[in-house]
């Protein structure tokens, strides 16, 4: 399911609306991921994972910046995310299935904060975008 012109336009428009708050939502998405899927905490033994943790907030901002980069390079996600893919594959050794858990929690976070903007078609476009990000990251594995 390639990203259609309509998908790209929808994702870009949503990202413009989120503005400088992407970090807040990525942080909440991380918190939700740790809460619902405790196995994902395995990658952060060195973090304080309690609610409001400054380390989780900083990491949320990193994730947000990476997603914003992805939105700016929808025509070449594997290229734009190549270094991050290599990092997650070879150094951090994150199970690629766990990217999908974070993607799901990001959708939940945005649905919770922007109910008016997450109509079914937008939900589909965002899900496709996040799947492409996940694939781009996973393409560096193995």
């Amino acid at each position: 399911m390639a990203l259609s012109g309509a998908d790209r336009a929808a994702v870009r428009a949503l990202w413009r609306k989120l503005g400088g708050n992407v970090g807040i939502y990525a942080t909440e998405a991380l918190e939700r991921t740790f809460c619902s899927f405790p196995a994902t905490k395995t990658y952060f033994p060195h973090f304080d994972l309690s609610p409001g943790s400054a380390q989780v907030k900083a990491h949320g901002q990193k994730v947000a910046d990476a997603l914003t980069t992805a939105v700016a390079h929808l025509d070449d996600l594997p290229g734009a995310l190549s270094a991050l893919g290599a990092l997650h594959a070879h150094r951090l050794r994150v199970d690629p299935a766990h990217f999908q858990l974070l993607s799901h929690c990001l959708l939940v976070t945005l649905a919770r904060h922007y109910p008016g903007d997450l109509a079914p078609a937008m939900h589909a476009s965002l899900h496709k975008f996040l799947s492409h990000v996940t694939s781009a990251l996973a393409s560096r594995y193995g």
């Binding site: 399911m1 909440e28 918190e31 939700r32 809460c35 619902s36 899927f37 799901h104 929690c105 959708l107 939940v108 976070t109 649905a111 919770r112 904060h113 109910p115 997450l118 109509a119 079914p120 078609a121 939900h123 589909a124 899900h127």
Partner: protein, 147 residues
């Protein structure tokens, strides 16, 4: 077998009490068909599924969504015996409907998104975690009789 703490059961039951099963069911099933279009293959006789708005407005989708979510309500009432509660439905989905159990997980996650969409602030990370357990339990229970 999935185990629910008293707090989780309370959170799940309390939120469920406020769910409009008819609206949420149609919403969840509709979104499944929009976001994961291959799932439309199980609903060939539902008529017009040609666009997101056609799907969301389709009366058969709404009616079936209500049926599905009413069933889900049984899960909420029987959290300690999900396998027993869904035994017959599991056989139906395996032997007659031939639905890949992966699709139950997809619907479960779509339902979680619908709940977040509807309940907003109330759908805290802790409430979400409790619901992720329920939807996983239901998906497993539905897959249990597959052979």
């Amino acid at each position: 077998m999935v185990h629910f703490s008293a707090e989780e059961k309370a959170a799940i039951t309390s939120l469920w009490g406020k769910v409009n099963v008819e609206d949420a069911g149609g919403e969840a099933l509709g979104r499944l068909l929009v976001v994961y279009p291959w799932t439309q293959r199980f609903f060939d006789n539902f008529g017009n599924l040609s666009s997101a708005s056609a799907i969301m407005g389709n009366p058969k989708v709404k009616a079936h969504g209500k049926k599905v979510l009413t069933s889900f309500g049984d899960a909420v009432k029987n959290m300690d015996n999900l396998k027993g509660t869904f035994a017959k439905l599991s056989e139906l989905h395996c032997d007659k409907l031939h639905v890949d159990p992966e699709n139950f997980r997809l619907l479960g996650n779509v339902l979680v998104c619908v709940l977040a969409h509807h309940f907003g602030k109330e759908f805290t990370p802790q409430v979400q975690a409790a619901y992720q357990k329920v939807v996983a339990g239901v998906a497993n229970a539905l897959a249990h009789k597959y052979h």
